[in-house]
Symmetry: C2
Subunit: 169 residues, 2 copies
């Protein structure tokens, strides 16, 4: 990370882990703006936030929000995989469309991994789609040290497979 980027991150972005009521709308707008998520996916993302507002960490979901002066710039959502010793799932990671390529996603992913490691996690899994639209997403995970742990053809729909990336921490 160069000095310029380091300065931008610490100066313009505030990292926050506590979930707020306003995140329900903030995350919806952010996800809808990316053009990457189906309506049903956006609804589930909202639901995870509502559940965490109600139940706290007992929800099983943890969040990292990157706030700018103008509002939410990106966020990640992750949690331990039930019934596993130390595997964690990265459920969501998204950055506002007009802020892509500025290192916000890398920062969110690194912070998520650090928290997972400190919590005793040894493996991170993340599901993504095999569709062409998701090539930058797959390249991002590969660049961050993830490898393909599973490749399930036509899982989501015909022509839309599930690719599971994994990283050992």
């Amino acid at each position: 990370m160069n000095a310029k980027r380091g300065t931008m991150n610490s100066g313009d972005i505030t990292i926050r882990r506590a979930v707020r009521e306003a995140d329900v709308v903030g995350v919806r707008e952010l996800l809808e703006g990316t053009g990457f998520f189906y309506d049903a996916e956006v609804e589930i993302a909202e639901e995870l936030i509502r559940e965490t507002i109600q139940r706290g960490e007992a929800s099983g979901y943890r969040f990292i929000f990157a706030d700018g002066p103008e509002g939410l710039r990106g966020y990640s959502c992750y949690g331990p995989v039930p019934l596993t010793r130390s595997s964690w799932d990265l459920y969501w990671i998204a950055v506002r469309s007009d802020l892509r390529g500025k290192g916000i996603g890398r920062m969110l992913l690194r912070l998520s991994e650090e928290t997972i490691r400190r919590s005793g996690g040894t493996r991170v899994y993340v599901d993504t789609s095999s569709r062409e639209q998701y090539r930058p997403t797959r390249d991002f995970y590969a660049a961050m040290g993830y490898t393909v742990a599973a490749d399930m053809e036509d899982f989501y729909a015909p022509g839309d497979g599930k690719i599971v990336f994994m990283k050992r921490l």
Copy 2:
């Protein structure tokens, strides 16, 4: 299916899809008796039943119970995978230990697949463990036409991988 087995199934076993309050205890006893499930797994199985008693099919879980005159002999639990077009998950299938090898598991799996197919499902996924103890389980799925769709080393714990079986309907 031979005539003798057909007679046994229809005579001694009643197939039931509606969930009852008594199934919470019935399923717990059945799962504990198999020696195949961890406490945390049994708790989750119970939770799915409670949620379905409260919310009906909106829970996302469907059940097939095989009742004998003396009580629950086996059951399956399955449902559509959220965010997929037509993929379904088989979450649980279990048969009372002293009744294994009598075709009850095969019957439950076939009935589950038939219901999934009638509901528009085209693929069934089922997760199992790579541990030696689960070899009969893996052989059972292979014999029923399932193939390995994913093999994720150390997923549950070191030395305990997740193997995902899949069948096209």
